[in-house]
C-alpha cells in the first residue's frame, strides 16, 4: 500500500529531513511513526500526499509511483488518503454536518451521496446528535472526531494521522484511538505519527522509529522506546 525506496529529502539550508529511508507498509496495517521532533515524521507524511517531493528515491502509494504523477492527478491521489491533524483544521463557520459534507462536495459527489454518507459516518464517530453544532461548541475530542469523520467519509484506502491526540487529555485520546482502531478494522491502512508513549505501548502495533531522518527501528509489535529515549 505504501512503499518508500531509498528516499531522501533535504530542506533548503538545513540538515537532511530524511536520509535513505526505505519502508514497506502493507494494506490494512496499523503503523505508529515515532521519533523526536524534527526526526522527519511530518516530512514522511507530507511526501505521501505529495505536498513535498523527495530529492531522491521512489515512493509508491496505492500501487502508483507518485514521483511520476502529473500534478493534475495529485487531487485524485489525495482522494485515496484521509488526513487528520493535531489542530483538527475544521472550518469554524460550518457546523459538524457541513464540515464533513464539504469534503464530499468539493470532490463533486452528488447530493444524494452526501445526505446518505454523512449521517452514516457521524454515527460511526458517535456525533450523530451534534450534527448541527459549530466546532467552537464542541470539546477537543469531539472536534477531532469530526476531523476523522471528514477524513474517512470518502472511504480512503489510507488514513494519515499527524499527532491526532497531541492536543487531547489521556482519556479522550483513548476514545480517539479506539475510533482509529475501528477504522483500521474496516481494512483501511492507518499511519499515525505520535509522541504519545502510553498509546503506543498499549496498542502494541507495528512501530517505525525515525531519528535525524533515518530509520532506527521497525518492530512488528513494538513499544514507544526501547533503544533510545
Amino acid at each position: 500500500m505504501i512503499r518508500l525506496e531509498h528516499v531522501s529529502k533535504t530542506y533548503k539550508g538545513t540538515t537532511a529531513a530524511l536520509r535513505d529511508l526505505s519502508v514497506d507498509i502493507a494494506k490494512g496495517e496499523f503503523v505508529f511513526l515515532v521519533g523526536p521532533s524534527g526526526s522527519g515524521k511530518s516530512t514522511f507524511l507530507r511526501l505521501l500526499t505529495k505536498e513535498e517531493r523527495p530529492d531522491d528515491g521512489r515512493i509508491w502509494v496505492a500501487g502508483k509511483d507518485i514521483a511520476h504523477l502529473s500534478s493534475w492527478k495529485v487531487p485524485f491521489l489525495r482522494r485515496n488518503i484521509g488526513c487528520v491533524f493535531q489542530d483538527f483544521k475544521l472550518l469554524p463557520n460550518k457546523n459538524v454536518f457541513e464540515n464533513v459534507a464539504f469534503a464530499l462536495e468539493v470532490i463533486g459527489r452528488p447530493k444524494h451521496v452526501i445526505v446518505s454518507q454523512v449521517p452514516q459516518i457521524l454515527d460511526l464517530v458517535g456525533l450523530a446528535k451534534k450534527r448541527d453544532n459549530l466546532p467552537t461548541e464542541l470539546s477537543g475530542g469531539e472536534q477531532q472526531r469530526v476531523s476523522i469523520a471528514r477524513a474517512f467519509v470518502n472511504r480512503p484506502l489510507i488514513l494519515l494521522a499527524d499527532e491526532p491526540t497531541g492536543n487531547l487529555d489521556p482519556s479522550t485520546s483513548e476514545g480517539i484511538m479506539r475510533l482509529l482502531d475501528r477504522i483500521n478494522r474496516t481494512g483501511t491502512t492507518v499511519l499515525m505519527a505520535t509522541h504519545d508513549r502510553s498509546i503506543v505501548d498499549r496498542m502494541r502495533r507495528r512501530v517505525i522509529e525515525l531519528d535525524h531522518g533515518q530509520l532506527v527501528r521497525d518492530q512488528a509489535r513494538g513499544v514507544y522506546g526501547v533503544a533510545t529515549n
Partner: protein, 294 residues
Amino acid sequence: MAIKVDYVARETFSNLKRNALMTAAAVLTVAVSLALVGSALLVRQAVSRATTQWKGGVELSIFMNPDATADEISTIDRQVHDMPEVKKVTYVDHTAAYDEFVRIFRDSPEFKESIQTPDQLPPSFRVVPQKAELVDSVGQRFVNGAGVRQVVYARDTIKTILKVTRFVTTFLWIVALVALMAASLLILNTIQLAIFARRREVGVMKLVGATNWFIRVPFMMEGLIQGLIGAAAAVGLMIGLRPFVQGQLKHIQLLQQFFVTSSQVLGTGLILLVLGSVIGAAGSAVAVTRFLDV
C-alpha cells in the same frame, strides 16, 4: 470534471458579499475606466463621420474681379479644368451670384438694395480638390492670376476642430488606459483578499482532493462578474449621457455632423462588455495563479 453550477454560484456570491467594499471599489473603477474607453471610441467615430462630411465639402472659392474680362474668366476656367488635382468645378457667374445674394439677404431689404445689378457682384469658381490636403496647392496657383480678386479657403476652422478632437481622443485614451490598469490591479487585489479570507477552506479543499479548477473557478467567476458589472455600468452611463451630450452639441453650428448613431453606441457597448470581462478574468487569473498555490 464535476464542477457543479450551484456550488460555483453559491461560492461566488458569498465571496462577493463578503468583500462588498473591495468589490464596490473594483466595480466602480472598471465602470469609470470603461466609460472613458467608450467615450474615446465614440468621439473617434463621431470625428471620422464629421471629417468625411467636412472633407467631402472642403472647397475653395476663386473670386474674380467684378469687372474681369471674359478672356480672363475663360483662362482661369481652362486652367482649373486642366488640373488633375481638381475633382469638381462650378462656375458661379454674375447672375447666379446675384440670385444667391438675393436669396441670402431676402429678409434685409436695405442690404439687398445696396446691390442694384448682377454686374456689381464678382463671379467665382467653386473648386473641390481630389483630396482635402490639396486645397492649399490648388489655391496658390490662382492667387496671382489675372483678374483674380481673392482665393478663400473653407478649411482653417476644420483644421482647428480636427486638432482639438485629436487631442481630446488622445487624452481620453491615456486616462482610460491608466484607469484600466488600475481596474485590473483592483480586481487582482479583491481576488487576493477573497483567497486570503478563504485560505482555510482552500487548505481543506486541497487536503481532501478537490481539483485545482474546482478551487479556482469560483474566484475567477468573482473577477469576471466584477468586470461585467463594471462594464454594464459604463454602458448604462454612456447610453444615459448620450442625449444630453448630443443636445448640447446641436446648438453648435459647426458640430452638427458630430454625432454617433444608436448602432454605434450599441457596438461600443458590446466592446466594453467584452473588455470588462477580459479585465475581470485576467485580473483574477493572475491572482489565482500567484496566490492560490494549487
